[in-house]
Symmetry: C2
Subunit: 401 residues, 2 copies
């Protein structure tokens, strides 16, 4: 049981290489505190297994130094391809990445249904994956692992979807069943955590051990990374930041309660307020109405401005509460919707500083990270990369014996 020390070394070095990018063995040794001898031994293993590769030393060093030149090591992107799948309400997006996290191909498809029976879900996933890989001039066989994120309650350890709005049955062993169908490892998680994982591995949280990621899509979500690990409460339904209460007996939320943050800042919340006295399309797709609302505010419409203003103040309160509770070093506002820019306005971020309990240490950094539409699927791909890396290390551990 204590014989995991070697694997600890492997993990440490591999993740350091992933984080710090190409770097020579000697710096690996310095940064991790592992001796040069051991670094040599372990990196040799990783090289042989194909997880990392040496970068041929550039012929003319820019800074001309004597001595044997350093040889940079980096993650070998070509080691594996992985697919990340985000199953949303009426759409599915799939991203194919290499082992380094480089996006190779993107895919999006509308779905005609919201809820699937287990067997239908599997069939749909297989079909969409076929499409997505074909689009990238690949076949399913070229993919070494799959990551999947969906809304609901997910037991990550068991790989079971306890409940999801996308699946008719409860306690569906999605991970194992899909894995068997694909013949490859599959990793599943609640979608709230996807973006946090993406930020941690290939985004703005790459070198930060503790940070929060707040996402605004239809609802308001949050991912928590503490001590370099994703924190997933005890029930696997993600941090319900959107349903923290910011006002006693406040606005009605679609969850049935009152005063939820989401009931003030989500698009449906804004539009229902605006609906009083304005002409809206009332479409299911709120994009057009939201654009109209923003435009009206910009044009000086008092109602529109009032609506947006309150939303911004509520959002600031919600974020300030997070700061007061976690005292994090960094909060990443990760979003895809340009319409919600007003929430990320400088005034909002500044007002947070006033709301937070005043101490004379620097307040946490709050940054906005705009991703493309496939942010979520990329997070799922990162899960696959992480899980696959871990599996490969385990395999190495067994191999040596």
């Amino acid at each position: 049981m204590l014989g995991e020390q070697r694997n600890l070394g492997r993990r440490t070095l591999l993740s350091q290489i992933r984080k710090v990018g190409p770097l020579p063995r000697i710096e690996l040794s310095e940064q991790t505190g592992i001796s040069r001898a051991t670094v040599t031994t372990i990196t040799a293993e990783l090289l042989e297994r194909g997880l990392i590769e040496e970068i041929p030393v550039e012929p003319k060093g820019k800074d001309l130094k004597r001595g044997r030149p350093k040889v940079d090591l980096k993650i070998c992107g070509a080691a594996f391809n992985v697919a990340g799948i985000k199953l949303a309400n009426r759409s599915i997006s799939i991203v194919i990445c290499d082992f380094e996290g480089e996006t190779l191909s993107e895919y999006w498809s509308a779905l005609d249904r919201t809820t699937y029976a287990p067997e239908d879900l599997l069939a749909m996933l297989m079909a969409e994956l076929e499409q997505a890989t074909a689009r990238a001039d690949m076949s399913l066989n070229d993919i070494s692992a799959f990551g999947l994120g969906l809304a609901g309650m997910v037991d990550v350890v068991e790989g079971v979807v306890r409940w999801s709005p996308s699946i008719t049955e409860r306690n569906f062993k999605l991970r194992d069943v899909l894995s068997q169908r694909l013949g490859k490892p599959v990793f599943i998680d609640n979608d709230a955590n996807l973006v946090a994982k993406a930020e941690q591995y290939i985004g703005m949280g790459k070198n930060v051990s503790d940070f929060l990621v707040v996402t605004i899509e239809n609802g308001v979500g949050m991912g928590i990374v503490l001590n370099n690990e994703l924190y997933r409460g005890t029930r696997g339904c993600g941090a319900e930041f959107g349903h923290t209460k910011v006002h006693l007996d406040g606005a009605l939320c679609r969850c049935g309660q009152r005063g939820c943050l989401e009931a003030y800042v989500a698009d449906y919340a804004l539009l229902r307020e605006m609906a009083v006295g304005t002409q809206l399309t009332g479409n299911r797709d709120t994009t057009a109405d939201m654009a109209a609302l923003i435009e009206a505010a910009r044009a000086g419409d008092k109602t529109a401005n009032s609506v947006l203003d309150r939303a911004a103040r509520m959002f600031a309160i919600g974020l300030a509460n997070l700061v007061n509770i976690f005292d994090p070093k960094l909060i990443i506002l990760s979003g895809e919707r340009m319409q919600l820019d007003f929430l990320f306005a400088d005034e909002v971020l500044e007002s947070i500083r006033d709301i937070v309990v005043q101490v004379d240490a620097a307040p946490p950094e709050i940054v906005v990270h705009k991703w493309g539409d496939l942010m979520w699927a990329t997070g799922a791909a990162v899960y696959a990369i992480e899980g696959l890396g871990e599996l490969t290390l385990q395999e190495l551990a067994g191999h040596v014996a």
Copy 2:
């Protein structure tokens, strides 16, 4: 650097013995996954150093079994004595414990000042410690380590009080200076974390890896234990749960902001509301006024009931927010003031269930833990126990070489 494996084993076994109480080597092996051989080796070391002791096997086993009887191991209380100090606004409390966490002596003393210059603080602490140890028929020399908790911003790693309402100067290296004066190791921390530590080591969080501790004294505090470790944000001022906002532009808090939870549930908040139309003493010590308020409510006074009722609803919201964010397994409401019982009433705890986002997994357990007046000082003592244990293990690591 990777050569810490032995100390890891020592730490694992020592903490397991502390948690699970007296247990034989073979169970230690099973529970920790460390082989019997290694358990023998390590426990021999710990025995020799005096950190643990064997419990003489009882002459007649109640469950009569054949074979060599198990020999229980337990923490050796007599190994060390430690003192825990809680420096409060106008009082100081000191608890002396043995290495097992058993309280040997309690001490409380009023202070004539709120704020001390560094030199005065040291003199005061030394004097009070002399008193406290004398009360226990000991001398300072009988104490092997000291734990100290105080309000403010504390850099635990450096042992520096960045700022505290109790000290005139900033950035006072309290830990090292006091340690030098006492000739023994000293450990300091923000007081918000004290109770969490106490719950973790000798309280209701003993066998729980993730839990929250909420305390209500004058303010509302919180301690966070995640993955068996106390989580202390980045600035060392503790989780400011009391200043999370539960109402936009709500009641005025003494921190200058509006809508803080504390501004609804702290004693001063209740009394100022009650002050409208009622006769109160207005004393600095709010105990009498609070008792009067509670009594009035019990007697059916409408105003009093309204005041308490809103406080309870706000408190429920605050707790529900914690549940939504952390999804913990356990929340401990740790308090000393009987006057605040109304906050812990069953109706409040039940209403939380309604406020929390509904999933069909069991909601977190919320328990009330009533400690004596010296709860905080006991937490400080636990710090000393923990730190001293760690120091001793380090010493063992060096000793072997």
